[in-house]
């Protein structure tokens, strides 16, 4: 059977995938009939049928464990196996969030220490681990910005400035906090255009959100100048910390002049991405924002750990305290690396990216021809002139068993190929990628058809997105409900 079957196709009345205990208490009277459910149409499949189905699906997936995954800005580094086991220890996995604090001191200590480590790593003064992903952390950061200005009685600051290379979540998060969005241009070197910032940075601006290094993989050497300008004009400086892997163990956001930074534990701190989560997006802040942090944070008092709510907290932003399971893995990562290990991480991350830059520069246009940090952004502009697009290049990489870089982002680079190798890849792996990219560049000249029709070896080939959006088919129904 091909994988194109779905659960209803293997469902048969009378099958089940699990055994459940018998009722060991007397049955109670049922509530009024109008409250009860009449029909519940879920598939009925055997355990073996179910396992074979999902195993077959898993084989259609590409993960970090399958191969090289240089998705820019996503930091697809290897996820140490035993960190997975840690989050599954019964003392971490089988604890209820509302248990008495005295019965979860180990969990609270882990969270407290993680707050301390992240605060130290970022050069900040306080942290909240509550945000559940990167965008949620950005959101938390911007709520802090809003609360900070309101607390000062400054009601005019309605705008968040972003650069034109920022992640899509940045403007979306700003809008969710009731802000307008203003855009600062990048200059021809890929840095913040100081004239653009100078004219945009007025008394209506609450904060500048600046990814560092930028999504171009570049560190802005004028960061202190930028920070000074923003602060002189009454604004705050916030970081989208997605790219911390570039200077982990080497640079502190606090020393760059940032007031807050949101981290992605599922990027920099090696927790797996799960096909799109769970993530964890702690927000770390300077003292000026500490009182506004989302509730709760963990405090230590006479050797006991407890949850407290910051004095002027922006409130609750999640059911409980954040993605604790993810925190366990990040905690293990920090403890196994130490300060020196982190510095080695960023060294190899930057070395690997620059190696790709140097080796592929003869074949692909490099819009910002300078030393990069943890990722390098190429452009498929040269190939475009031959009628080959970045999408074709990406799809052709799949035929080599390689995951493509992030494509068409950042938006300011035409036909962008944003490539982040991470430190967990070896020169051997990078060389194989380089060879594939060289062959693709050659095919773009000599045999473009093979690129236009790529991929050829994948479980499915190019899919019809337009059809999917025009006639959305977003679910199956059980056969007796209509169609299959």
């Amino acid at each position: 059977m091909s994988h194109h079957y779905l659960l209803p196709d293997i469902s048969q009345p009378g099958k089940t995938g699990c055994s459940l205990p018998a009722l060991d208490v007397p049955a109670a009277a049922l509530p009024p009939k109008e409250l009860l459910r009449q029909e519940l149409e879920l598939p009925e499949v055997s355990e073996v049928g179910l396992i074979r189905y999902f195993t077959a699906l898993s084989k259609l997936n590409y993960g970090v464990d399958t191969g090289f995954y240089p998705l820019g800005s996503c930091t697809m580094k290897y996820n140490p196996k035993w960190h997975e086991d840690i989050a599954r220890l019964p003392g971490f996995a089988s604890i209820h969030p509302l248990q008495p604090e005295g019965s979860v001191q180990g969990a609270l200590q882990l969270m407290f220490e993680l707050q301390e480590y992240l605060t130290e790593i970022t050069g900040m003064n306080a942290a909240s681990l509550v945000p559940l992903a990167g965008a949620h952390g950005e959101y938390a950061g911007l709520l802090l910005v809003k609360a900070y200005h309101q607390d000062r009685g400054d009601k005019a600051r309605k705008k968040i400035l972003l650069t034109d290379s920022s992640h899509g979540t940045n403007p979306a998060s700003a809008v969710m906090c009731g802000f307008e969005v203003g855009v600062v241009a990048s200059d021809s070197d890929g840095n913040v255009d100081m004239r653009s910032l100078e004219s945009a940075m007025n008394e209506e601006v609450a904060a500048l959100t600046l990814t560092m290094p930028s999504t171009l993989g570049l560190f802005d050497p004028r960061i202190l100048e930028i920070s000074r300008l923003v602060h002189e004009r009454g604004g705050l400086l916030g970081a989208d910390g997605a790219n911390l892997n570039a200077f982990l163990g080497r640079v502190k956001f606090g020393e760059l002049g940032y007031d807050y930074v949101q981290l992605n534990l599922h990027k920099t701190f090696s927790t797996p991405h799960g096909g799109g989560g769970p993530g964890s997006g702690p927000v770390c802040v300077k003292q000026n924002l500490a009182d506004f942090l989302p509730s709760p944070v963990v405090a230590r008092n006479k050797g006991k750990y407890k949850f407290v709510s910051p004095a002027k907290s922006v409130g609750s932003i999640a059911n409980f305290y954040g993605n604790f399971g993810v925190m366990c893995k990040a905690y293990a990562y920090i403890r196994s690396l130490g300060a020196q290990g982190m510095k080695e991480v960023s060294e190899d991350a930057v070395l690997n990216a620059n190696y790709l830059r140097a080796k592929l520069k003869p074949y692909y246009y490099l819009p910002y021809d300078r030393v990069c940090m943890h990722e390098v952004v190429f452009s498929g502009k040269r190939q475009k002139a031959k009628g080959v697009h970045t999408l074709d290049i990406a799809k052709r990489l799949l035929d080599y068993g390689l995951h493509p870089p992030t494509v068409y982002f950042p938006l300011i680079v035409e036909e962008a190929l944003m490539t982040e190798p991470t430190e967990t890849e070896s020169k051997q792996t990078l060389d194989a990628y380089i060879e594939a990219m060289k062959e693709i560049a050659r095919d773009a000249e000599e045999n473009p058809e093979i690129l236009h029709t790529a991929p050829h070896n994948t479980p499915v080939r190019r899919l019809d997105d337009v059809r999917a959006a025009r006639n959305p088919d977003l679910r199956w129904q059980m056969k007796d409900q209509g169609h299959g």
């Binding site: 779905l6 659960l7 590409y62 020169k427």
Partner: protein, 433 residues
């Protein structure tokens, strides 16, 4: 010792530096001002795998694991049985080491299982469409409230006083963030016509089953959407939101095959009527065909999303809880129609057995006379905190102390995990107060 996570050798590094044309790695950091690139970090010394395992086992052992204790605690996180199939499927690293399926051709595993998830959630809730999942129940409820404001073009959100208080706080944070307004309303009172939605919970925070059809009617009469926060396990037995007129149904999906993990990761279940699909937040997967006409799946309706639409997106959500959604799909498929019904019935009967036993005790009474599912509030003759301390000493995690809402009241939760012996022991100890 070289690091197991840094596969480059020193020889590799030297060769790479030569190719780059620099003398040292240090030169690659030259864009960072000299004074900023040598920060000092006070962090614990690194530990080997062996040493750190010991240390983390020690930390874990400081917690009271509910694998060892009886638990009667609910209030938003629930202990349910997790079939082995769930861990084995989500433990396949092809699933857990992948990211958002931007490259659909090599992500069909994630995409097709998400399509299964969406379908199973629609079946479970009797709603027409589901997204691929959000962070947790509270943020799903908050996003639903904001979506209702967009759909109705109104700026006030009404939340029933019987909705989980944390959900109310999160909705309030989100609504205020957008410069909208939230109002709490008594479940018995009317709904002003300037409200974009009414949010009610089934069963409600106190465990009682509410008259959801009446709430839906009230909301619709006021030109508002009706948003139902539901317990997904209860839907094995009780009327689903699609049948009582919910426009949006949200839930926390932790109970569907995910461990409690001290409150996270959870899963935000989010389903709505077909007509609102283009206002829905979050990822959505759709079925299509490839160039050869072969069936395949893609992320679709992406023009709602931040990476395409930026400040005009329906939400900022990007990374969510995909692996937890996979767990929920495997859980629902493993249990199937008879299994889920069975789990719900076990919860119902066991909870009623416990409630009957407690209600007979001197000084105790059920706080409400309404029908309930697996949670119920009990008025106690002593402070719940005091009772819980005594229970803990005897290996039992007691109920949630809700004395802030009602004097000396405890919210107890009984699931299929609680044996009759555990419950008898609970009742016996409660009887000593």
């Amino acid at each position: 010792m070289p690091s197991p996570y840094l596969p480059n050798t020193d020889a590799d590094r030297s060769a790479m530096l030569r190719e780059i044309g620099v003398g040292s790695v240090e030169e690659l950091f030259r864009d960072i001002p000299e004074g900023l690139r040598h920060a000092q970090f006070r962090l614990p010394s690194p530990l080997s795998e062996l040493e750190l395992k010991k240390e983390l086992n020690r930390l874990a052992s400081l917690n009271v694991s509910l694998d060892d204790y009886a638990c009667f605690l609910g209030g938003g996180s629930y202990r349910h049985f997790i079939p082995a199939t769930v861990e084995h499927v989500i433990g396949r690293s092809e699933f857990y080491t992948a990211y958002t399926p931007y490259q659909a051709e090599v992500s069909q595993g994630t995409l097709q299982s998400t399509y299964e998830y969406q379908s199973l959630i629609c079946q479970l809730t009797a709603m027409e469409v589901s997204n691929a999942g959000m962070y947790d129940g509270s943020t799903a409820a908050a996003e639903a409230a904001i979506m209702a404001c967009v759909v109705t073009k109104k700026n006030k959100v009404a939340v029933s006083t019987t909705v989980n208080p944390t959900y109310r706080e999160v909705i309030d944070t989100y609504v205020k963030g957008r410069d909208l307004f939230m109002e709490t309303v008594d479940p018995g009172s009317g709904l002003p016509s300037d409200c974009a939605c009414l949010i009610a919970q089934q069963p409600n925070f106190f465990g009682c089953l509410e008259e959801m059809e009446a709430h839906a009617r009230k909301a619709h009469d006021a030109g508002a959407l009706f948003i139902a926060v539901v317990d997904p396990i209860s839907l094995g037995m009780f009327q689903p939101p699609g049948q009582y007129g919910a426009d949006i149904a949200v839930a926390d999906g932790q109970a569907l095959g995910n461990s409690m993990s001290f409150g996270g990761p959870g899963l935000g279940v989010f389903a709505c009527r077909q007509q609102y699909v283009r206002q829905m937040p979050g990822r959505i997967v759709g079925k299509t065909v490839d160039v050869d006409g072969k069936t395949g799946y893609v992320m679709t309706l992406v023009t709602r999303e931040q990476y395409i639409r930026r400040e005009r997106a329906t939400s900022n959500i990007c990374t969510s809880e995909a692996l937890m959604a996979l767990a929920a799909a495997v859980y629902l498929a493993t249990l199937g129609k008879t299994g889920l019904r069975r789990v719900a019935e076990l919860c119902y009967h066991k909870a009623h057995y416990a409630a009957d036993g407690i209600a007979k005790l001197k000084g105790y009474s059920l706080a409400f006379s309404k029908p309930f599912f697996k949670e119920f509030a009990v008025r106690c003759p002593a402070a719940p905190s005091e009772i819980n301390r005594a229970l803990l000493k005897k290996g039992i995690i007691g109920g949630l102390d809700i004395s802030h809402a009602m004097d000396n009241t405890m919210l107890l939760c009984v699931t299929e995990m609680n044996s009759r012996e555990e419950t008898d022991k609970l009742v016996e100890i409660l009887g000593t107060f």
